[in-house]
Each structure stands twice: as C-alpha cells, then as structure tokens.
C-alpha cells in the first residue's frame, strides 16, 4: 500500500469518526406561538427526570417571551436529552384566556415537529390539568383558548408529548455527515481530476 492510500485511509477514518462519535447534543426548543395573552410573564415548563420523578425544586425552565413575534420559548438544555419522564406547562397566575396558534419543537436549528394548537392541546398530548377552566377550540379554527384561573394553573403533558420532545434532541449527525461528505468529496475529486 503506498503512502497516498494510507493518507486516504486515515482521512476516511477521521471523517467517519467525526460523524459517528457524539460530541454533544443540541438543546431542544419548545416554541408556543400565541395571538393574545394579557399576562405573558412567568410561563414555566417543569420537568421530572429518571432520577427525580417529582415536579418541583429547580427543575423548571422559564419561558422567554418575545412580544414582537408573539412567541414564548422554552429552551430545554441538552443535558436532559432522553432523560425527561414528565413535563408540565405552568401558566401565569391570572384569570385570563391564553390564545395559542401553534407549537413548534426545534432542535439543531431544524423544526422537528409542528402542531396546530388545537392538536397539541388535545387529550392525546395532555394527561391532566389544574386551575384550567377550559381548553376551547372553536370549530374550523386552529387557535385554541386556554382559560386559566386559580393560584396554580398548569397542564401536564402526556407521555406521547414527552416522547416527542425526548426524541427531538439532535446529535447533529446529518450536519456532520454533510460536512464529511463535502471534505471527502473535495479530496477525492481533487486527486481524481489531477490524475486525469
């Protein structure tokens, strides 16, 4: 085997390793698009993990509200990838009708799942509520109205919703594959063209 072939083999191994070895996974972002909220402060996403099965303590993520874009964003850190066992969406303590349009689950800058609010706030995706007077979706509309009251309004997300979010963390495999193919392709084509 000549030197060139050894070099190619080393590069190939390096690129495969780059693709396969996980560095870190991405954060997962849950984005709620709203059309109307009176009190937009203090939305929280509480989570339980395999080690700590109960909600509470510091296991919560504060929603970042962007009033210009009408978005509430929860950034779930990558360390929780695959570790979340339950999720609870806490609303501000206020009597109000929260009107939501859609829910996006993003990771690695890609929208992994998108739902109309009428779908995401259907019984398939939540398993319990507290301090919620009603979850209403007028027929033929996507917009969903969540009427909150009481001192601790929240919606507990279902196992299905938790599964979707747990699976959404990205390990950047496709990005790494594309970069490797590009680098490998350049090296291969360069030498092929040089030979011809």
């Amino acid at each position: 085997m000549n030197k060139k072939k050894i070099l190619y083999a080393v590069i190939a191994i390096f690129l495969i390793a780059f693709c396969v070895i996980p560095f870190h996974s991405s954060n997962c972002i849950v984005r709620l698009h709203y059309s109307d909220i009176d009190e937009a402060d203090s939305f929280y996403l509480l989570y339980a993990t395999k080690e700590e099965a109960e909600f509470g303590g510091d296991k919560l993520i504060e929603g970042v509200v962007n009033p210009d874009r009408h978005v509430i964003e929860f950034i779930i850190p990558s360390e929780l990838s695959g570790d979340i066992t339950a999720l609870r969406l806490d609303f501000p303590v206020a009597d109000q009708a929260v009107s939501l349009d859609s829910v996006f689950v993003l990771a690695g800058s890609i929208v992994r799942k998108s739902y109309g609010a009428n779908v995401f706030f259907s019984p398939k995706y939540y398993s319990g509520t507290n301090g919620i007077d009603a979850i209403q979706t007028p027929q033929t509309e996507i917009e969903t109205y969540i009427l909150t009251s009481g001192t601790d309004p929240y919606i507990v997300l279902s196992d299905e919703a938790v599964k979707v979010i747990n699976r959404s963390f990205s390990s950047f495999f496709v990005t790494k594959l594309l970069i490797s193919l590009f680098i490998g392709g350049c090296i291969f084509l360069y030498h092929k063209e040089k030979r011809s």
């Binding site: 984005r31 990771a107 360069y190």
Partner: protein, 417 residues
Amino acid sequence: MSVKKRDFAAAIIFGLLTAYLSYRIVEAELSNMVSDYTGHVYVYLPLLLKKETFTQGLGAAPYFLWHLITIAGYKLFGIPLEYAAGYTNSLFGIFTYITVYFFVYSLYKKSGRDVGSIMIPLISFGMCILQPISAKWMNAWILDAAPITPNPLSNPTYLATRGFAVLAFCLVLDIWGKQESDDYKGIFFKVENGLTRYYIALSVVLLLSVLAKPTFVEMFIPAVGIMMLFKWAKEGSKKDGSGKKYFGILLKTFLTAVPAILIVFAQFLMYFIFGGSYGDGGSVVVTPFLKVWRMFTDNVGLSIILALLFVMFTMLIRTVTFIDSNAGRLALTCFGVGFLQAAFLGESTKLGHGDFMWPLMSAMFLLFLAALTALILHKEKEDRPAKDALTFTAWTIFALHVFCGVLLIIEELSIKL
C-alpha cells in the same frame, strides 16, 4: 437600442436598485431602537458632532469613515442625519456594486466571454444582497439573533468595507501573479508594467478599509501573511537562493500593510483610552470553542453549510480550479483565520454582540468571489452535457442565495406581497 447601450442600461439599473435598497434599509432599521443603525445615527454621530464629546465619540467608533461621510452630508448640505445616513449607505452600496461589477467584468474578459452579458450586472447585484439559504422549517438562526452572512444588511460599517475588500482581493491576486511570474498579465490590473503603483494602491485600500471597520483587515492581513510565509518556507527549502529573493518580496508586500496595522492598533488603544467599547472594564477574551457563535445558532455546521452552499458546490465541481488557484487558496485561508477568530474570541462585556464574527463574514464574502472566479475562469476540455448541468446547478444555487436576500429585504422593508 444598440447592444452596447442596452448592456450599459442594465448595469445602471441594477446599480441604482442596489443604491435604492441600501437607502431604504436605513429607513427601516432606524425604526428599530436596538438596531446597529440606531446606535450609529442616534448615539455615535451626535457624540462626534459636538466638540466636548468628540473624543468620546471617537473612542466609541474609531472606525469613522461611514460617520465622516454622513457628517459631511449633514454639515455641507444640511441633510438631516437620518437621511444623510441613508445616502451614505447608498453610496457604499453602489461602491460595492461597482467593485464587484469590475471584478466579474474582468473575469469575463479574461475568460473570453461576452463582456456585454446581462449576467455581469445580475451577479454584481446578487453579490450585494445574497444571504444564507433559509426556510421556515430550517431556521438556522436563534430567534431574533442576527444571521452570520456575507451581507449583514443590519450593520452599516461592515457594509462600508465590502468594496474595499473586493479591491484588496483583486490587488493581492494580481500582485501575487506578477511576483510568481514576470510574464503574468493581470486579470484585474495592468501589473505587467510594474508593481509599485499597485503596492501603493493596496496600502491605500487597506487603510480606507480599516477606517471603515477594522474587521476585514484583522482577517485579511494575517491570511495573506500566512500564505506568503508558507510560500517563503517552500522557496527556502529549494536552497537555490529563491528563498532569500522571496523574503524581499514578502517584506515589500508586508510594508503595504503597515499603515493599516498601525491604525488598527491605534483604534484598539482608543477603545481602551477613551473608554469606547471596553469602557466597562471589558476586554478581548479567549472564549471556549464556538461559545459566541452558539449564541447566534444552535447548529454551527448547518449555519456554515447554508451560508456557503454555492461556494461548497462550486468547490465540488471545480475542485482543482478552486484549490489550485490563488483566489481559492487565499479565500480558504481567510475563512480559516476568520473561523478561528469567531470560534475563540469575544468581547468580555458583550459576548452577545459577536464582534469577532465580522472577520468571518468578510471571509465568506471573499469565498463567494473565489467561487465566482473558479466558475467563470474554468474552461472545460470538452463539451459534456453533465458538466453543463452541474454548472447550471451552481448558478441556480447562487440565484437561491440571492432570492433569500430578496426575501430578507422584503421582510426588512415590511413590503406586503
């Protein structure tokens, strides 16, 4: 209308369009209280306009070419500051358009193509506005974070450097060509008659670029230096005296960069002494790998792919032409230097500003120029439909970048379609 007049008209129309859009962007940005334009127009310019706050203004913006021209419009013609800022942006927009036009025109001429082609103004206009490929589902950018792009339309001082970047790129390529071979006939300039005036021109262009914003030369001068040092080492290994000869050339080229380097140092000192950017006890810091970049995107790799798709595709279909050319190598080295700065440097008190991302963006702009060079200058040995299809695909990707730029401007100007 004769063919010549028609081509001339197309060049002017696209130039005017570039100028008009550059002006309108200022108008749109000034309605956003946290935009870069607002800072320059409503904070830095008033500081620079008053005697008692002039030094404070200079400390905050020691790169003042954009401000100087805006102030000239305000003082000499009585144009209100906001409008003067719009005209200055217009001026730099059209300057970039003309330099890119000159760049592409020269490549067309060198390759023996039709220099009256409508493609020249189209490509030049496209280069002034193109953006990373984006789609709603493939949102490479964190909400409201500015994208890393060859054309950050939100920053006036960066936009002011683009024309100088094109000229510096052209000058270095022709100077290197002549240094490598006495028979070299320039692509962009008539370097066959000697290099002295081009060394002076390069020095002036680098200096003006620093006065517009130092970020381009912070990346460009080290990249040129690295390539020339590498060449020197290669020449030195021949042991026939060519290493010594090349050292003289290296030194001469380095001298052209000295005024710009001195001004960069002076600007950094001003930041410290007059309490500009680092007034709150901040400084340049080495950050963990990609820390600042990750404030702008969740997926750095994807952000590079989307920003440079045209360049990457062109590299794949013109591998040898790209990698073996001075243009390709210089642009890649610039990208390497820019990448390292973006990956490891930040300003301690305002990491989120991503101030060391600017050199990377300039390098991306140069990569586009290098890809255009490879695409236009490449000559196929034989006619093959498959090769034509690949070239067509490359231009389609370029058009896609431009289309994303058009979409961004539509969004920026809140044009309802």
